[in-house]
């Protein structure tokens, strides 16, 4: 799509320069060639950076989140987002962003809570603020990236119980994004093992596995997940539920990956280099591990990248319906539960915010997957 200006640029004026570039492509490995091609796709590179940031931030979310996800601000229930600003009520510019204070009142007619900004109160934002205590790995701390003295900062508002939505989204993201990774890892292992066995062994094994996958794929996944989630004991701890949900999602999701791997294995199996390796004395395991797996791997990585969104969305949908992750554990789907009720949504439209985080993550995965697939395309010129 986008072509690198430098590479596309002028016709080759200098022969040695041209030779050098050709030489570069000759010296590097296949993996590096793919990497170089990937870099040409700007959208995918941006998405990759975005995704790494999302994962890093959600990983150390206690630090990035201004509050503990369960801290309740009882006098700030259902508070709308309060975005930091630089310009005060008199139009003066302040170098340090600040938030205004708010005053709660009730609408005389509907008796709903109304928050009005008190522009006389300014609370400047500060970096590295001491706040709620947390434990990250084995490290106790109360340091947070930002906050304000004497006043809470709700950049995405609070929920019906007065908890900071932004903090909850970061904590929820930790679960949601992890489900995606663990789920795909399980799918991947299942898919690679079953797919390679199916493709390499062929015959009856292949037929049986393929029919099985067909059955699996003919179930509508969401209703199947919903039904399967019934089998999870309600009294289990939320961490066990979390793990089981992840396994459940990947059990339904590995079929597609297994098909990709099988197709690749079949294609590679008839390649002459596999025969050559057998001639050189390579046994089944040697060929599977030295030849078929590495050749498949790049394509499998693409398929896996494109499979992560499915699992993240599966978890989100299940939790959204109340069948997945159970409170007090938080995931993006759990957070969206509140948005399900029309009455809540009409009063607190900001409750939909987690949806945009979900979309951003999924979009990033899709962009990267697309970019990787294009980079692997043997017909793209380099």
């Amino acid at each position: 799509m986008e072509q690198n200006a430098a590479a596309n640029g002028q016709p080759l004026s200098n022969e040695t320069e041209a030779e050098e570039r050709f030489d570069v492509t000759k010296q590097v490995s296949y993996g590096r060639l793919i990497y170089l091609r990937f870099l040409r796709n700007h959208a995918a590179v941006v998405a990759a950076f975005a995704l790494v940031s999302i994962y890093l931030i959600t990983l150390v979310c206690p630090f990035f989140a201004p509050y503990d996800p369960n801290t309740r601000f009882l006098e700030k229930v259902a508070h709308p987002p309060l975005l930091p600003t630089f310009i005060d009520a008199d139009g003066r510019f302040h170098l340090r962003p600040f938030v205004f204070g708010t005053v709660q009142s009730r609408d005389p007619k509907t008796m709903e809570r109304v928050y009005t900004e008190d522009t006389t109160q300014r609370f400047p934002l500060q970096l590295f603020v001491r706040g709620d205590e947390y434990t990250f790995l084995f490290w106790d701390s109360d340091l947070h990236l930002f906050g304000a003295q004497d006043s809470p900062v709700f950049i995405l508002g609070t929920d019906t119980q007065g908890r900071d939505l932004f903090s909850r989204i970061l904590f929820g993201g930790r679960i949601s994004t992890t489900v995606g990774l663990i789920g795909v890892a399980i799918s991947l292992i299942l898919g690679i093992v079953v797919g390679m066995a199916s493709g390499y062994l062929g015959g009856a094994v292949d037929s049986i596995i393929q029919r099985g996958i067909e059955v699996l794929l003919s179930f509508p996944s969401l209703p199947l997940w919903m039904a399967l989630s019934l089998s999870l004991p309600r009294h289990w701890s939320s961490i066990r539920i979390f793990l089981l949900i992840t396994i459940l999602l990947s059990i339904v999701g590995w079929g597609g990956l297994a098909r990709v791997v099988r197709g690749m294995t079949l294609a590679v199996k008839s390649e002459e280099f596999v025969l050559a390796s057998r001639m050189g004395g390579g046994g089944t395991w040697w060929i599977l591990i030295r030849h078929i797996l590495p050749t498949n791997l790049s394509y499998v990585i693409v398929a896996a990248t494109l499979a992560v969104p499915g699992i993240i969305l599966g978890e989100t949908a299940l939790s959204f319906l109340g069948l997945g992750i159970q409170p007090p554990m938080i995931s993006w789907g759990v957070l969206l539960q509140d948005a399900q009720k029309v009455s809540f949504l009409s009063q607190m439209p900001w409750l939909i915010a987690p949806a945009f985080f979900i979309m951003a993550t999924v979009l990033a995965f899709n962009f990267i997957g697309d970019g990787l697939r294009d980079a692997l395309d043997p017909y793209s010129n380099f």
């Binding site: 596309n8 640029g9 010296q27 060639l33 004395g281 030295r290 010129n381």
Partner: protein, 736 residues
């Protein structure tokens, strides 16, 4: 210059320049090509892959997508029903261009298998063309289509009308495509490698059809091909193209008898012919076709040319050697004025053998690490141990055809059906046949890459023959240490994810023959043995050209110092000039290492060139077996005769066989009864349908077997006899 050409020209391309812009910059794929086709003429445009001939021919009808193509200069004049028309200027006027396509000029393509629409009937596809250009009612269009199908020789044309592409064989599809192209009676047919994807006997049929239709429909043909042989018996004039430029143009006789340009000379010399001295080095061009962007300045052939001079840094002039013969080469600049030494060496003397004689200095020198076993010693050793290294008896490979949900067996593909062969120590046995005859399966059976359904395979690594038919794979691993194999496709036979050191060193590591730096050392040795640099072992396959990859594959096959090598179509995917290099390398290595070899190929000329004995295979059976030269001089099986006659030889004016084999290769799942060749055999008798002939000795020859009921009565046409009529050109073959 901008005036239309004289009227006897159907096509006149003038100074065509086409560039492509890509990430590597702009490259000029066609660089000043001028070419014309006169009324009723067949012109051949010959060149190796990537030389720009396809772009040239597609530019005529606007089939080159632009962008990325950029038409920088030139004119293409085409005779149409509205008079001479310049087609490059029509690119902006698609409607006018469409009216020309199919009506004034038509085209057939390289891949008949993929060029017929898979979901429309043949009839629909052809009548569509008529209805596009002419106001006729559907019934008439139908009748004309049937007539056309009949003309191109498709059996029972009305039945073909309702058939789909997948019901037709490759040859039949190409016939249907020819019918499609000619149904509106265009004056010019463009043929883009029309026979490359077909088997040799089918290729001969299609070429014959084109020749015949040219007369009947009084049209002209522009045919592009990489195979000099194809144009030798078909074209009136030939243009030779290299890296976007025309190197030489002339009548077919002059090009073949007195090639002027060193590139043409090299191309002709590097083709193994049926007249050359077997097992000698071919005169190969050095190096490989460079990437377009890497082409030398001035004369693009300079870096491979044996006559290169300092002046070659400048673009050579196109010299008119004779009325209809021109070459773009500095050697002939001012021919009459200076009969300098350079010009004299290159100026071909009459007779044709000079091209080979003067080129002897070009014989490729392969750096050898072990020089000890000279040819003498090898010869002696052969005589001493005139024992068999490999014997296969009645070996068969049957695949079940499974259908339905329960995978019931509904038939059997008899890929190999009872083959007996033996290979002596140090001997090369050539196995030749068309696609689907089972020759590749034989190669995989003897190495146990596929399991035989019946029969015995015995192999002797050193001395005694031992049965290996059913030994477990673990033992087989040990046996394979004495076997090597080279595959057809140099692209797919090297794992793109591994570097050369690991590819070539893999057998060494698997057999525990070397470890760590010892592998590097041995791989370096092997690479130098096949003519590559030892330092290149850290590179990856994509950094090498096709010919270099095949060298790497050979190095890997020889890594464990085997005594037996299976070469499965090792040169069929390579350019002509590179093909000769690889054949030379195989011959040298075989003599040096005293290898026994099973050499499998579809081209009987190539097989004859490298083999001591030849086995001809047809539908899973050996139909003839004997000494390589003898088989070609005096074939005993009609199929061998047909194969020999089908090979397009670079010898214009050779008489072709009166009776060519009819039809297509039958389905190996359902082979004909009796003699399997009887459905196509011009000499077929009633007995051939009933009784299957056995492979029996021919007359009183010791080492010549045939499987034909009438082999003692028939006197079949070989090749060397024809060659002798043409005099010294043939016999002088490859004397060193």
């Amino acid at each position: 210059m901008n005036s239309p050409p004289d009227t006897d020209k159907v096509l006149d391309i003038r100074n065509l320049q086409v560039s492509f812009s890509s990430i590597a910059g702009t490259t000029r794929a066609v660089n000043g090509v001028s070419l014309n086709v006169r009324s009723g003429e067949i012109v051949g445009l010959v060149g190796e892959s990537g030389c720009g001939k396809s772009v040239t021919i597609r530019s005529i009808v606007g089939l080159v997508p632009s962008p990325p193509a950029l038409f920088e200069d030139g004119e293409i004049w085409l005779r149409t029903r509205r008079g001479m028309t310049e087609t490059l200027s029509l690119y902006k006027n698609m409607k006018a261009l469409r009216q020309i396509r199919g009506r004034d000029v038509s085209m057939i393509f390289q891949e008949p298998m993929r060029s017929v629409h898979p979901m429309m009937t043949i009839g629909q596809q052809i009548t569509e063309g008529i209805l596009e250009h002419e106001v006729v009612d559907p019934a008439e269009a139908y009748d004309r289509t049937v007539e056309m199908l009949d003309l191109v020789g498709l059996p029972s044309p009305p039945a073909q009308m309702n058939r789909y592409a997948h019901e037709l064989s490759g040859g039949m599809r190409q016939r249907a495509l020819i019918a499609l192209a000619l149904v509106c009676h265009p004056q010019l047919l463009l043929a883009d490698e029309p026979t490359t994807a077909l088997d040799v006997t089918i290729q001969a049929q299609i070429l014959e059809l084109i020749r015949d239709l040219r007369e009947r429909m009084s049209m002209s043909v522009l045919l592009i091909t990489h195979n000099m042989g194809v144009v030798a018996n078909l074209a009136d004039r030939i243009s030779v193209m290299y890296l976007g430029r025309i190197m030489e143009t002339g009548t077919v006789e002059e090009i073949f008898k007195e090639p002027a340009h060193p590139y043409t000379q090299g191309l002709l010399a590097s083709m193994p012919s049926l007249f050359s001295q077997p097992k000698t080095h071919l005169q190969s061009l050095r190096g490989v076709v460079p990437e377009l962007a890497m082409a030398p300045k001035g004369c693009v052939f300079a870096d491979r040319c044996p006559h290169v001079m300092p002046i070659c840094d400048e673009t050579p002039p196109v010299v008119e050697l004779r009325a209809d013969h021109s070459a773009a080469c500095w050697l002939y600049d001012d021919v009459e004025a200076s009969q300098g030494p350079d010009a004299a060496t290159a100026q071909p003397s009459h007779g044709g053998d000079s091209t080979l004689g003067d080129a002897s200095q070009r014989v490729e020198v392969i750096p050898l690490t072990k020089t000890e076993p000279a040819a003498d010693a090898a010869q002696k050793k052969l005589a001493d141990s005139d024992t068999d290294q490999l014997q296969i008896e009645n070996v068969a490979l049957h695949y079940p055809i499974l259908r339905g949900l329960l995978r019931r067996q509904v038939g059997t593909v008899r890929a190999v059906d009872g083959v007996d062969l033996s290979i002596r120590r140090g001997e090369t046995l050539g196995l030749v046949g068309e696609s689907g005859c089972g020759k590749t399966s034989v190669g995989r059976l003897v190495t146990r890459l596929v399991e035989p359904s019946a029969g015995r395979i015995r192999f002797g690594a050193d001395g005694r023959l031992e049965e290996i038919t059913h030994i477990p794979q673990k033992e087989m691993k040990g046996v394979r240490r004495s076997m090597g194999m080279v595959f057809q496709d140099p692209l797919s036979s090297l794992n793109a994810r591994m570097n050369i050191r690991n590819i070539v060193g893999e057998p060494l590591m698997l057999h525990g023959m070397a470890r760590g730096s010892a592998v590097d050392e041995r791989v370096g040795e092997l690479l130098e043995m096949v003519g590559l640099r030892a330092a290149h072992q850290s590179r990856f396959p994509h950094a090498f050209s096709g010919g270099q990859r095949q060298r790497i594959a050979i190095a890997r096959a020889l890594a464990t110092e085997p005594s037996f090598l299976v070469a499965d179509e090792p040169v069929s995917a390579l350019d002509v000039s590179v093909q000769a290099q690889i054949l030379n390398l195989l011959l040298t290595l075989q003599q040096q290492l005293n290898l026994s070899m099973l050499f499998i190929a579809h081209d009987i000329a190539v097989v004859r060139h490298v083999s001591d004995r030849i086995a001809v295979m047809y539908l899973g059976k050996i139909v003839e077996l004997g000494n390589a030269r003898e088989i070609c001089v005096r074939p005993v099986h009609p199929y061998t005769e047909a194969l020999l006659a089908s090979i397009p030889l670079p010898m214009p004016g050779l008489a072709t066989l009166q009776e060519m084999p009819k039809g297509d290769l039958p389905d190996p799942a359902n082979p004909p009864t009796g003699c399997r060749f009887h459905t196509r055999c011009p000499y077929s008798q009633p007995i051939c349908e009933q009784e299957e002939p056995r492979l029996v000795p021919f007359a009183d020859a010791v080492d010549h077997f045939g499987a034909c009921h009438f082999q003692d009565e028939l006197h079949l046409q070989g090749v060397e006899e024809i060659g002798e009529i043409h005099g010294s050109a043939a016999a002088a073959g490859g004397e060193e």
